[in-house]
Symmetry: C2
Subunit: 393 residues, 2 copies
Amino acid sequence: MFTIMPIKGFIDDIDGFYCDGIHAGLKPNGNNDLGFIYTKEACNVKAVFTKNKFQAAPLKHFQNYGENFQTNFVLINSKNANAMTGSKGLEDIDNIFSQLDFELINPIMSSTGVIGNRLPIEKLVKGAKSFDLNAKNGENLSRAIMTTDAYPKTCLYEVKLEDGSSFKIGAVAKGAGMINPNLATMLCFVCTDANVPFEDMQESLLTNSQTTFNAISVDGDTSTNDTVMLLANAKSNSYNKEAFFEALRLVMHDMAMLMVADGEGAKKVAAFEVINAANNEEAEIAAKALSNSLLVKTALFGEDPNFGRIASTIGASQITCDEEKLVISYNDVIVFNKGEITFTTEVEEKAGQVLQNDKYKVICDLGLGEGTFTAYGCDLGYEYVKINADYRT
Amino acid sequence: MFTIMPIKGFIDDIDGFYCDGIHAGLKPNGNNDLGFIYTKEACNVKAVFTKNKFQAAPLKHFQNYGENFQTNFVLINSKNANAMTGSKGLEDIDNIFSQLDFELINPIMSSTGVIGNRLPIEKLVKGAKSFDLNAKNGENLSRAIMTTDAYPKTCLYEVKLEDGSSFKIGAVAKGAGMINPNLATMLCFVCTDANVPFEDMQESLLTNSQTTFNAISVDGDTSTNDTVMLLANAKSNSYNKEAFFEALRLVMHDMAMLMVADGEGAKKVAAFEVINAANNEEAEIAAKALSNSLLVKTALFGEDPNFGRIASTIGASQITCDEEKLVISYNDVIVFNKGEITFTTEVEEKAGQVLQNDKYKVICDLGLGEGTFTAYGCDLGYEYVKINADYRT
């Protein structure tokens, strides 16, 4: 028995975590572009990274520390991804940390922005030297890591255990757009004062990624910088594995949903529920194909219940399927029923009404087995093209 | 020794082939929407079809004739794909042919348009009954099969062999958009008076699909109706295998290039040449990933030499690659050279100039082996969203 309650606040409301964000001169518009997470005593850290073969320099830098290590400082910048920068990219990170004059224990860097430019070291060092390490400004940090995000992304939960103890867990994240296939970088920093062991940190990150961040992005088709990091300082001395896994799942689900709703220019979020597939793997393939289909996304944008595109995308995904067993619905409006076209004018009107909502389900019942997976996608409209045609400039 | 020369004309300039296109009342704007190809004597026919698991009714109808068969009539309509119509879709085709009063030998139907509606049988029968089977109106046919195409797609070649004999080969096709991932149906009808045996028809279609239609569309991620059909009436009594394969390759390449250049709203065609990959399979995976990446397509639209998106897409495709061996160029302008960023302001300007062209190459030298593949893609702009947000209506 445990309870998990959302509470107001940022990650700095967790005992022992400090953070802030400032403008260091990277974003021409004067917005925050550099931030940090600091713990007075070093804390345990684990991360899962992009499967992109060209991992950015900060990801290599992190992994060079080895398996289980502690850190007291994470430096995060936007506007420059420090990716495709070769060995120079790693040297630049060491160079920055060597110029800071406070005690650093295995300092970590995390970057998001344009690929293929060297970091502006002087600006970053000058900015980092100005940090107040006693600051508790979670909102400033949340804005410093934004790129094309329309809004900052944070959450905080309190977990109460049966033994009367409690811990907090919260996150700050960035990431907008369809993630895949548009490769917009996703960063998520989860902080907790739970007394979670290293092995549980790793396992819980991997397990919960499948139904959260990997349900909005396809494995392997991710940006050079994608990172989910978990920092745990054990200050609460409270822990229960089941409660912690569930709390982390909620945190990661919250952040994933905020990202998909913040799709570049997106106005709608669809949950593509594939049910009764031959197995879970095939359900996942079909659900992700739907959430990534350009034709499906533009139909959502046009509020057009074009179920032919849904069917065609499932068929193209090469999973086991049968026209005579397939049922497609928008929420509870059935538009295709086992080879029978049920798409009368009345049904079309009802389905069109569902698509006028901000959130709805597209349910594909394959009628074959017990496989199930839900992927989340957003619509694609003119704004997406505008943002991505001139993002670099 | 043989020569292959492009000549003026349509498929009806090939001995024994008759065709026409009319308005049968399917397209509300009064444009042609129904056409036919007719041969007075039955001719050999072979086709390759979509790998989509939900093949449309006309594709099943064709395959029900078995391996090697002859036909004298192909009926082609636009505006309705006769897909996801179950067994009713097959019955509708038989129903239409049963009402026509000229001699039909294994008649074939081919459809493109919206998925999930029954065919308007009365309109189609009335239209087909009005056909003049002696017509030679290739251009009318080319317009009857268009959907979102901006222009009709045809070509014609004459092949002269060393023995003094000659044959003709030509095609009429439809298909616009990125094909994959947007699933726009691609139809291509190739006619020839070459005396080509059944087994060579099949082999040449499969072989040439790889470097032509499959270089603009990814295997398996295709519409419910995609079809490439080859009709051969042997009237010329001329044949040479090597010459025929090469001529068919030219015809299919022409049609594929017209399709990619007619990407919905597209203004630019990029050839993504992946060279020196570990093997041909990996080169193909990377080249197709590039030609399908939304971020790459929008960067082309913005004329932005954003090579970071090129690199990131290659890395995300999961092929073997090494930052220290990769070279990326736009035509002859190198923007990334083996881990060194060579992207000075001068280089950026030159690369930007390349992207202002209508056609150019994006060359990715992986520096690993001898694998090579070229995929063709177009840019994605506002027009694409407009077309696909309201295509059905």
